[in-house]
Symmetry: C2
Subunit: 331 residues, 2 copies
Amino acid sequence: MKKLINDPQDVVRESVEGFGLAHADLVTVNPDPLVVSRAGGPVAGKVGLVSGGGSGHEPLHAGFVGVGMLDAAVPGAVFTSPTPDQIAPALTVASGGAGVLAIVKNYTGDVLNFETAVELAEADDIEVRTVVVNDDVAVEDSLYTAGRRGVAGTVAVEKIAGAAAERGDDLATVAAVAERVVANVRSMGVALTACTVPHAGRPSFDLPEDELEIGIGIHGEPGRRRIPLAGADAITEMLLTPAADDLGLARGDDVLLFVNGMGGTPASELYIVYRHARALLEGRGVTVARSLVGNYVTSLEMQGASVTVLRLDDELTALWDAPVRTAALHW
Amino acid sequence: MKKLINDPQDVVRESVEGFGLAHADLVTVNPDPLVVSRAGGPVAGKVGLVSGGGSGHEPLHAGFVGVGMLDAAVPGAVFTSPTPDQIAPALTVASGGAGVLAIVKNYTGDVLNFETAVELAEADDIEVRTVVVNDDVAVEDSLYTAGRRGVAGTVAVEKIAGAAAERGDDLATVAAVAERVVANVRSMGVALTACTVPHAGRPSFDLPEDELEIGIGIHGEPGRRRIPLAGADAITEMLLTPAADDLGLARGDDVLLFVNGMGGTPASELYIVYRHARALLEGRGVTVARSLVGNYVTSLEMQGASVTVLRLDDELTALWDAPVRTAALHW
């Protein structure tokens, strides 16, 4: 195992500590329980946004803490849900008195631990609404999930709901906006290589030198099928078409097209995928109105990519465009 | 070779085409000769900034085209210098009548081809000054270089000189600022794995499973030495200390600390390196006044990182902080 780490047990703590030092203008890190929150504390009267999940998907979620997006992020161990007694303080630290929206990727452990944490927070008189993200069209049910997995579409949920909270929407409205993003976002990914969880020390799965896994999960969960090596355009079509079909994209629709890197893929390759995904959408009469290309929801050093489409309307577009100031998204 | 590409011959063209489509608000792509320039064309009366070099280091340089940084970037073939008749039109398209600064990483091919292109531009009455970046302290002379190589410090040169140009400094002043960054910036990198140039189809060098290359070049050129696998803190010290020593960092100095990923390294690992590099600097009585962590000067999918330190003064700090709006740097 070749990694720039010290003791595998210290990876998350040391990494988040470094992150907090590098971005002290944006975030505050509480070491125990480990919570990354917006610098300056909660904003009075604003709905708070909290997300979290296993580490190894950076910049998700801590990289999205800041103005116009999350108020707190809860990093679990690598590929392991954060605990309820770690999530509950995050709900508290994010609370500015107007309630808190919890954004949870659909993995059984995350869903259960957030549920327990929400009960704890509600016992402290913090009103919490939860939205579960399940944008991955690859498979129904999976290694760690009942129903569809939550993957890169989470970025759009956090950005757009964050903008709604920042402009002063109340909890019910922010939650409804988040649900509207969930209803309109679909993703699918491919792995070229596996990744290695530090404390495991060996790759999470075997992927032969001449095969790809279409529909991969962000923890290396099995996808739809393995195929022989193929060109980027052919692979892109295998990702974009199921996502666009499932969403029922129709001529005249506007979308955000988001090509996400899994961590070990060069930017140049992501733009090659973007180029063809865009051409395929345009061929369907769909307009790519907004774009995002880069490593946002990763799987450690996995080589691969995912394609996400979000059907936009005027309000979602305006919320996407609203200012954001976080370590990983900034405009 | 596992890559998200089509024909290896088309990698740069397709990638830059995708880049241009994704960032049409920031850049314009001229397909032949391939040049990426600031959307809206040159700014009248502003010094133009041009950089370029072999592809495979994305987001360098096209990702830095936009407001407050470069006016044009010239992507060569992968790890291959752009040609003079590709660079010369970039100097022209960047010219707003106040002269052009060419920022060149110190590789023999780049230096020679920029020299020829500058002669062509000057024949067209465009005044050009050139600054050569040579921040890599690992080795004197190298596979493709006489003298030190130019690596991640290039980002600081482009950002700070770009801010000077944007505020209206004249060509001599912008060039002097750029030279001051070059004089105050040092870097050193490590490779955990090799990378594969698409048209070569196999790794550029062999690096055994249990070894690292300290002082690696961004094209996989040999560094100072190979060492057995080591912890992140030990590796970080092997990178930071030579860079800081060469720069003569002294108690009381302020620096920008920049931890750069080589393309295939998870963000979490870069923050672990940042954490210890910062501690080492603080141990020397040096203040980390500004920070940058991420994949900015990459080597395709290479796993590894580099550490860059830039000694700051008030003016360099203000220019670093000045607004920038490009695909890869935005604040």
